[in-house]
Amino acid sequence: MSVNTIRGCIGCGTCVKTCPTDVFRMDGETGKAVIRYPDACQICHLCRLYCPENVITISPEKSIPVIVSWG
């Protein structure tokens, strides 16, 4: 399912700002990032690459069916 987990978030909000498709939000209660819109993930890994703690895991499978031109 694309973005999988955030374990060990320090609440810096970098992933929220960085994700081009707006997958993350900050949890108002915990102050940590949550995966709010996983269907929007395009599996580009920018969130993981920018995460200062490297605590985001991502799998290559899309969470919804994929449309291609052929194949």
Binding site: S2, L46, I58, K62, I64
Partner: protein, 559 residues
């Protein structure tokens, strides 16, 4: 297909907003030059407009240096006159030959001529030291005190008294509408696609092109196709499909003119089915069927590179490091699928029609740069590796200086309350609907209509007309009924509307161009028509509100 596409997402349903549209505050910001977009073009537009004396504001839907396609571009071209083996004129002529006349040689030459200066500035800012560009982009903007507003979805350009007056949009983080008054605006909003799978188009949905079209700008280049394939295994996984390229620091490329990444593979797949193996032209790809897109003399498909892998093996190829341990783009690796960048034309071939070499549009005060400008810098096919990023840098700088110069000649305009009321209503409409279509669902229906190989790649009139009928249905009966429950979905609703508009443009331009050339292939008109089609297609909104198309001869400026 459209029905299949919609599986897994919610279509028509009641809307239960999590936020109240009435709670949105309006915030106003003024600037001499408003730069929309935080990629490579936006960076240089802001820096050069500032250095020309303008008060600049940058607004971006994403994060500076981390949105659009800029973060994934790892090669930037630099023409060094001291080491290049070809002159600028020879370079420009060679691009024109490969592009079969579709390029604008003024922009081709401009890109090459200024590329080294831009690359040297990027070196000063530390751009080449990291695979991640945000910090390097921050340096020149911080040094100059240029403010950057991130996660602002700009939805509207504002035109008053015939010229640009500003823009408006909303925040992704709080209930706020922003109104930006500016003497000039530079669209650095990139191109876009239909949220396809496997190519890092990510957040690009032709927003700039669409908002400009709605206020009267001319748009070009919608019939061309970027032909990047994807990988058959996990085709949606951009990062995995590019085999380590995103982890790599950027590098500089030198002169090497090609004729790449049109629709050759799409034709091969259409004629003989799967599997299509090996890479695109120039990377060892082998044409296995007769006919298909014509290639210019001297730019035939080369065979596998010397010492390269056997067919079907991972070639590494372009984009691989010298050790061959890290691979290149999709299509370089085993079995492929098509449509990874569906909805996007060749870089720099689509976008606003420039009226001069200063990246100015037909609307006074409105400029565009990079993939938002239909400059035809490379033509309607990929001709020079790394020129996409270089072109964005160069055009950003050119547009920045020109927009600052324009700003010295005018004053900020008042934005009428009528305009603001209409814009606020349009921005918030999806939140206010009590029921409607989910934007995800509509997007997937659009993907099902547009992405199949036999629709937008291997084109023929009956299918194009059939697809257009579907898209017009979406335009007339779904765009006005898109719903949104929160700020994320409000963004999706506006993006979906833009993709539908872009699809209409693509289909109408594809129908109009009754020939095949570069990355546009018509099965019913398979040859190049040099008698009738030495021309680009411009699209604009007619006085009756309908979409109009016109020809503009190659190597000319709009009348």
């Amino acid at each position: 297909m459209a029905a299949l596409a919609s599986l897994g997402t919610s279509g028509w349903a009641a809307n239960t907003p999590e936020i109240d549209a009435e709670d949105f505050l309006e915030k106003k910001k003024d600037a001499d030059v408003l730069v929309i977009g935080g990629g490579m073009a936006g960076l240089f537009a802001a820096v050069k407009a500032h250095d020309a004396g303008a008060d600049v504001l940058v607004v971006s839907k994403g994060r500076l240096g981390a949105s659009g396609q800029t973060p994934f571009a790892k090669g930037i071209f630099a023409y060094d006159p001291e080491t290049a083996k070809t002159s600028l004129d020879e370079f420009t002529d060679s691009v024109s030959q490969s592009a079969l006349g579709t390029n604008n040689p003024v922009f081709t030459r401009q890109m090459a001529e200024h590329s080294l200066e831009r690359v040297n500035e990027l070196k000063e800012w530390g751009f080449f030291k990291s695979p991640l560009y945000h910090d390097a982009f921050r340096i020149p903007l911080t040094e100059r005190g240029i403010p950057v507003m991130e996660r602002i979805v700009v939805t509207h350009l504002i035109r008053e008294q015939g010229r640009i007056a500003g823009a408006a949009g909303f925040s992704l983080d709080r209930e706020r509408i922003y109104v930006f008054k500016a003497k000039s605006v530079i669209l650095c909003t990139g191109a876009g696609g239909f949220k396809p799978n496997g190519f890092p188009i990510c957040d690009l949905t032709h927003d700039g092109t669409c908002m400009a079209y709605r206020v009267g700008a001319k748009v070009t280049g919608k019939e061309w196709n970027d032909g990047h394939p994807g990988q058959s295994e996990n085709p949606a996984a951009c990062y995995n499909g590019w085999h380590g390229m995103f982890d790599r620091k950027p590098g500089v490329t030198g002169v090497g003119i090609r004729h790449d990444l049109g629709v050759d593979l799409n034709y091969q797949a259409y004629m003989q089915g799967n599997p299509v193996q090996m890479g695109p032209s120039g990377s060892g790809g082998q044409s296995k069927v007769s006919g298909g897109p014509e290639r210019p003399e001297g730019f035939n498909r080369p065979g596998p590179p010397k010492g390269g892998p056997a067919p079907g093996r991972r070639p590494g190829g372009r984009g691989a490091d010298r050790s061959g341990k890290r691979g290149g783009p999709p299509g370089m690796h085993g079995n492929m699928v098509g449509g990874s960048s569906a909805g996007m034309s060749i870089h720099k071939s689509e976008g606003l029609v420039p009226i001069n070499e200063k990246c100015e549009s037909n609307i006074p005060g409105l400029y565009a740069a990079g993939d938002a400008l239909g400059s035809y810098m490379a033509g309607a096919i990929y001709t020079q590796i790394g020129s996409s990023l270089a072109g964005s840098a160069v055009q950003g700088a050119v547009a920045g200086e020109a927009a600052a110069e324009f700003g010295c000649t005018v004053t900020l305009q008042k934005i009428s309350s009528v305009s603001m009321g209409k814009i606020r209503t349009e921005i918030l409409a999806p939140l206010k609907r009590q029921q409607g279509y989910g934007p995800d669902w509509v997007t997937r229906v659009l993907q099902g209509i547009m992405i199949p190989n036999f629709v937008i790649y291997i084109k023929k009139e009956p299918i194009l007309n059939a697809a257009l009928a579907y898209v017009e249905e979406l335009r007339d009966h779904h765009t006005p009924m898109l719903r949104a429950a929160d700020l994320h979905e409000l963004r999706l609703a506006h993006e979906t509307a833009n993709m539908i508009l872009s699809a209409e443009m693509k289909l109408k331009a594809s129908l109009m161009r009754k020939e095949s050339r570069c990355s546009h292939y018509r099965l019913d008109y398979p040859h190049m028509d040099t008698k009738n089609w030495q021309a680009w297609i411009n699209i604009f909104k007619g006085t009756d509100g309908t979409m109009q198309l016109e020809k503009q001869p190659f190597k000319s400026w709009p009348a």
